[in-house]
């Protein structure tokens, strides 16, 4: 596809990529009638491509329902992909058999949004974190205990928490447990799905700092999925903005925030209320709402809400391209 070629060309000058997702599509069938005939598809992810270099962070932003979480879940095959490839360290993840997939999951870990729902309330913290060590046969008995204690220290908790249950911890501490669990198998890539959005403001910054420290110490690569543009700006090296299953803008963090090209990115940035009454700014208030991914509008999916839309936008989709030859891609005719 044109889009991939361009992405590839603009990026090939740099060395290796740990993550290389190409033209990923995830459709969910809509069934109806007595025989559950498939009557349509929800195109949750509709042709998404991106790459991440080792040790870097890609921020994937978008509003609810734009497909950002589905991208993460499809990558570790919690949801089967409809089309596309995901090369992890050069290896095609989607075509691996179950056995190899299990090994791959040691290198790709995931962290979830809800610190209350993502920890089993009947398991102690020690067994939650240590479970994967057992499953993968990495460590047992005393050795496993030591590993878990070590992990707890790494995330700012202590070994005395080993035998406690999740309900004894606050939201921020539970998210630390989630991080420790993700780190247990020394992964290379962590897919962080809204890791801080359920936390209080004063705790958010603690977790963001912890994630950054760990990245530095362990040379981790993050796919950071979030809706908060300010947090994404802080933590990411590159940022991809999603709208209705597609990436509409992709750029180096500095470029994207300094000079957003796509009107959706511009509107998103201007919609964030800033904690400074002196800086009340000009706001682009978008009318309408995100259309349904089961019945996306013709042409550019953003055109019904776009302040710049013209006739060409209604008929044809602009692919994600770079207008000036650098690593700043936008999918908009008017950009």
């Amino acid at each position: 596809m044109n889009e991939d070629l361009l992405l590839y060309n603009t990026m090939k000058h740099s060395s290796e990529y740990l993550v290389d997702v190409k033209d990923l599509k995830t459709y969910f069938p809509i069934r109806s009638g007595v025989f559950s005939k498939i009557v349509g598809h929800v195109k949750a992810v509709d042709g998404v491509s991106f790459k991440i270099r080792p040790g870097q962070t890609l921020g994937l932003v978008g509003e609810s329902g734009c497909g950002k979480t589905t991208v993460g879940r499809t990558m570790i095959r919690l949801i089967p992909p409809t089309e596309g490839t995901f090369a992890f360290d050069g290896e095609d993840v989607f075509s691996q058999p179950q056995g190899r997939m299990k090994e791959l999951r040691r290198d790709i870990q995931m962290m979830f949004q809800d610190p209350y729902g993502s920890l089993n309330p009947r398991m102690t913290v020690g067994s939650i974190i240590g479970e994967s060590l057992g499953v993968h046969g990495v460590a047992r008995g005393k050795e496993r205990q030591d590993r878990v204690a070590d992990l707890l220290n790494k995330v700012g908790l202590s070994a005395q928490h080993l035998n406690r249950y999740p309900h004894e911890f606050s939201g921020g501490q539970r998210q630390r447990i989630g991080i420790a669990r993700a780190l247990a198998l020394d992964p290379k890539l962590i897919i962080c799905d809204e890791p801080v959005s359920a936390l209080d403001v004063s705790i958010q910054s603690q977790i963001v700092n912890l994630l950054q420290d760990l990245q530095e110490q362990l040379n981790l690569t993050y796919l950071f999925i979030a809706h908060d543009l300010a947090v994404v700006e802080h933590i990411s090296d590159f940022v991809a903005v999603m709208y209705l299953g597609r990436i509409v803008e992709y750029a180096d963090r500095d470029l994207l925030y300094a000079n957003p090209l796509h009107p959706y990115t511009q509107a998103l940035l201007s919609a964030i209320p800033e904690p400074d009454p002196g800086r009340r700014k000009h706001r682009i208030v978008l009318g309408g709402e995100v259309p349904s991914p089961s019945n996306p509008p013709s042409g550019c999916p953003f055109h019904p809400r776009c302040p710049l839309a013209e006739d060409c936008c209604k008929n044809e989709i602009q692919e994600l391209v770079s207008k000036d030859g650098n690593e700043h891609l936008a999918a908009c005719w008017k950009a």
Binding site: D200, H234, D276, P277, L286
Partner: protein, 334 residues
């Protein structure tokens, strides 16, 4: 703040306690503030700080058992809400004070159409016929920016998006022309572009109707853009009170300062975010003295912070703070 007749709502020394099986939870302690007519007051704080309980106390919606307002005075337009009869309170709720909630998904009844739910409010409070009430419902829906209200009035909540449902909630709250709107995290569950729409709508309606708003939120960005006055709560108490400009310009309490500094801001690059260490204390076991002292960057070694709770004191015109170390905080008059 001096007591004038310009205040629509004034709360004095409000305390609300919950008698739970685990022990006494002092959810709101000694909270005082005023909301001037036509202005927006924001109550900011993290989860569990007592901001929602304060709002529910005003509405007298604290369930007994286990909760109870144990002390204080709530004056609404000169009327003491703690003393009025339940019948009078039912008139006030909806007619004079209306409330919108955080969860537009769960605060609407899924088995009635949204029109039905708005009409119910109108009929209950205004003695209108069904036909008139329907007209009011359609007008209100148009006012809050719902396109094609004649058709959508017959839709069920599940047919609407989160932003639309929040608009329905606002229409329902405003259909009797309340003087005070209590908005409990009205945009927390919404996306930023929808949040911008709803906040804009609230501002426009406030200008048109001249109502006062008590906005409960944890988002300092929302506060900065909408509030005239701000009350910062921490661990059941008010720790700082100021106008929005002054608060963001020069926060006095170390908690407010910490909160403001820990926020990542657009366009401001930092290597690391500043943090407030530790976590929010459990309301069953609040620390002695100043409740913020275990997390405070200033007062950890001060015996007074550990043993004595600083009362909220006025330090300048329209500004109060509760911290032994705050600038202008006169500790001798204690």
């Amino acid at each position: 703040m001096t007591q004038t007749n310009d205040n629509l709502l004034s709360i004095k020394n409000l305390s609300t306690h919950f008698y739970t099986e685990q022990g006494l939870v002092k959810a709101v302690q000694d909270v005082s503030f005023d909301i001037p007519k036509g202005k927006t007051l924001a109550v900011v704080g993290e989860s569990g700080c007592g901001k929602s309980v304060t709002a529910l106390s005003v509405m007298r919606l604290i369930p007994w058992p286990p909760g109870k307002i144990v002390d204080g005075e709530i004056l609404f337009d000169g009327e003491s809400l703690r003393e009025v009869s339940e019948d009078r309170m039912r008139q006030i709720r909806g007619n004079d004070i209306a409330m919108i909630f955080q969860e537009p998904m769960t605060s609407l009844n899924p088995v009635f159409t949204v029109g039905n739910q708005i009409i119910e409010v109108v009929k209950l409070h205004q003695k209108k016929s069904g036909h008139e009430a329907l007209g009011i419902a359609v007008d209100m829906m148009r006012k809050v920016g719902i396109a094609d209200p004649e058709r959508r009035v017959g839709e069920y909540p599940h047919q609407m998006s989160g932003g639309m449902r929040q608009r329905v909630m606002i229409a329902m709250a405003l259909c009797c022309g309340p003087e005070l709107l209590i908005a409990d995290e009205p945009t927390t569950a919404l996306d930023v572009t929808i949040q911008a729409q709803i906040l804009e709508l609230l501002r426009t309606l406030q200008r048109q109707e001249g109502m006062s708003i008590m906005m409960i939120t944890h988002d300092l960005g929302v506060v900065a853009e909408n509030a005239d006055e701000v009350v910062v709560m921490y661990a059941s108490r008010v720790v700082e009170k100021a106008s929005a400009e002054e608060l963001f310009d020069k926060p006095l309490h170390p908690y407010t300062r910490g909160l403001l500094k820990s926020l990542p801001k657009l366009g401001e690059r930092k290597e690391r975010l500043d943090v407030i260490g530790g976590s929010v204390p459990n309301p069953l076991h609040f620390p002695d003295g100043c409740k913020f002292h275990p997390r405070c960057p200033l007062g950890c070694n001060d015996s007074r912070c550990r043993s004595q709770e600083p009362p909220l004191k006025q330090v300048a015109a329209g500004r109060s703070v509760a911290c032994w170390h705050a600038e202008g905080y006169d500790d001798k008059s204690e």
